[in-house]
């Protein structure tokens, strides 16, 4: 009984960590630009696919990871420079279609070059399950949890203790005022895409040994990351982490105790119910609209 619960708990927080990293990516870009980047899932896919393909080609794992992260960061930069920035102050629907177009484009390139097949990455430190209280946890899950924890702490430090991080927060609050005090908001915008791309790539790499990876793996992960970000309240960093973990746990518990067939529907039922009662997510700011 307890061991079963523990098993669901482990799987929930592992997936939840990935959702949290994806949600952080959404929030960072949303804060800097007001854009919901539907290509966030492709960053996750690029990280995973890039690493798998280089490892298969004989590149040592650490180097492969580094290159995959760098390539994804470049893609993020290109996305901002060539797709989001030229669009300027377009309507929300237009921006959604642009980022979805980018996401289809990236998927198309990966599919055309590397095919539609599924790829597996070897776990970082073996695949002997660890026994805890009758439940088992894969060593790779510990990697996921550890890396996520480190990233969350680093991000906290970056946004609260460094000048650049504070400049990003200032831009999120009021871009015009930020420019007035000498913050280069265009650079901040670019940085936000790079940061999100790096977060996505890392998430994709650490989860690749658990779930297989393929060119279309980013769609569902991206959408669930968006759910997690909305659940916590768009643009709220803490909200994104809590939203991600909550989503992972709810999904695992519902799959375990209710119906595994409807596992993928759980996040969407959850978010619709939450939005019905809290239209700005769990921790969203209660802003009043200015006329």
């Amino acid at each position: 009984m307890l061991s079963q619960f523990l098993q669901f708990l482990f799987s929930g927080i592992t997936n939840g960590s990935i959702y949290a990293l994806a949600a952080l990516g959404f929030s960072i870009i949303y804060n800097a630009s007001g854009v919901i980047n539907f290509a966030q899932g492709e960053f996750i896919m690029l990280g995973g696919m890039g690493t798998v393909i280089m490892v298969a080609a004989g590149v040592p794992l650490p180097l492969a990871i580094l290159i995959a992260v760098l390539v994804t960061a470049l893609v993020g930069m290109a996305l901002e420079k060539f797709a989001v920035e030229p669009a300027g102050n377009a309507e929300v629907v237009t921006l959604i279609i642009i980022t979805i177009g980018a996401s289809i484009f990236i998927q198309g390139v990966v599919q055309a070059v590397f095919g539609k097949g599924q790829h597996a990455l070897k776990p970082f430190s073996g695949d002997t399950p660890i026994n805890i209280g009758g439940a088992t946890i894969l060593p790779q899950s510990l990697w996921v949890l550890g890396v996520t924890a480190v990233i969350v702490v680093l991000l906290w430090w970056f946004f609260n203790r460094t000048l650049l991080g504070k400049a990003m927060l200032a831009t999120a609050h009021n871009p015009l005022a930020a420019r007035l005090v000498g913050i280069n908001t265009r650079f901040i915008l670019l940085l936000s895409f790079v940061l999100s791309a790096v977060l996505g790539a890392i998430a994709g790499i650490i989860v690749a040994p658990i779930t297989l990876t393929s060119y279309d793996v980013g769609i569902m992960l991206g959408l669930k990351g968006f759910v997690a970000a909305t659940l916590g309240g768009l643009g709220n960093g803490l909200g994104a982490v809590v939203g991600g973990l909550l989503l992972g746990l709810t999904e695992a518990m519902a799959a375990g105790y209710l119906s595994s067939q409807y596992k993928d529907a759980v996040p969407f039922v959850l978010i619709i119910l939450v939005l019905f009662f809290m239209p700005r997510g769990l921790f969203g700011a209660r802003v009043t609209e200015r006329v």
Partner: protein, 301 residues
């Protein structure tokens, strides 16, 4: 309106074989759906990333009621429209309270839930493999052949256009535009904004359901992919590429997006790349859509 009617009447003269008829019929059906969706997105300014769900519900209502229970197709279609209308009405109030990205999230979620239900409830829907749908018939006469379908679709498209233009020129249409401009200002001016938003949401959902039924009978086979997230995006893209708040833009958008996969089939293996690039470039360089942008250019020239 007259131009569209003329095009519909004249087009058969230029269609050499059933393949072209088929493409044009699909364009017409998509156009009917997109005209309805444009009322919601373009005129009322409310995003929906889940309308393919309503389309699919209509399609499956027709498929299940005619195929398994032997209902007459027209009754099944009406039942689908009524059911979707009620569902949309119940969902509309809480969903349309949301704004911007939160609204996008909720409608997206709704569409995905419908997709998953259609995929999982295979005893009703045939699951991922889909189900076949009997041909459309009315008063014992079966509708078959591309030519007959062409005229039916053409007539229904004209009906949809007439309906949409009337809605836009009515007090409802003015209220919707006021709503799109500024919801608060519209409220202050005494417009019951939530009432109108619900109205147009239900209208667009019912039109989607009717189109779904029609497509199901025409193609004769349906799978859950009609309700996929990607299909919802495709429909929204038709609205935006053609031009938001441009009814004829919707027809143009439907035509372009329906033909695009055929045109791109030459780029073997690179269809996705080309499709993504076209989406991005159109939206970057013509954020207002094709028809409004070209209309503005013509006026200046």
């Amino acid at each position: 309106m007259l131009v569209t009617a003329a095009v519909i009447l004249a087009l058969p003269l230029f269609l050499p074989n059933p393949f072209y008829y088929d493409v044009v019929i699909r364009i017409g059906m998509n156009a009917i759906m997109v005209v309805g969706l444009n009322l919601l997105i373009g005129y009322a300014g409310q995003i929906s990333l889940g309308h393919a769900g309503f389309l699919a519900l209509g399609a499956y209502a027709s498929g299940i009621l005619t195929g398994r229970y032997g209902w007459p197709p027209i009754a099944a279609m009406a039942a689908g429209m009524a059911g979707v209308g009620i569902l949309a009405y119940v969902l509309a109030r809480p969903i349309l309270k949301l704004k911007g990205h939160y609204l996008a999230m909720a409608t997206l979620g709704m569409g995905i839930i419908i997709f998953i239900v259609l995929t999982q409830e295979s005893q009703w829907t045939g699951g991922p493999d889909g189900m076949s749908v009997p041909a459309f018939s009315l008063l014992g006469r079966e509708l078959s052949g591309e030519k007959n379908w062409y005229w039916v679709t053409g007539a229904l498209l004209m009906l949809a256009l007439w309906l949409a233009l009337n809605v836009i020129d009515s007090p409802v249409g003015r209220a919707l535009r006021a709503l799109h401009g500024s919801e608060v200002a519209a409220q202050v001016a005494g417009v019951d904004t939530s009432h109108f938003k619900v109205l147009v949401f239900v209208l667009s959902a019912v039109i989607a359901s009717a189109t779904g039924s029609l497509m199901a009978h025409y193609i004769g086979f349906i799978t859950p992919t009609v309700s996929s997230f990607f299909h919802s995006i495709e429909l929204v893209t038709m609205v935006v590429v053609g031009g938001m708040a441009s009814i004829f833009g919707s027809v143009v958008g439907a035509a372009i997006l329906t033909m695009l996969p055929q045109l791109l089939s030459g780029f073997e293996g690179f269809e996705l790349v080309a499709f993504g690039a076209i989406l991005m470039l159109t939206m970057i360089f013509m954020p207002r859509g094709l028809v409004p942008t070209l209309a503005a250019k013509l006026r200046r020239a």
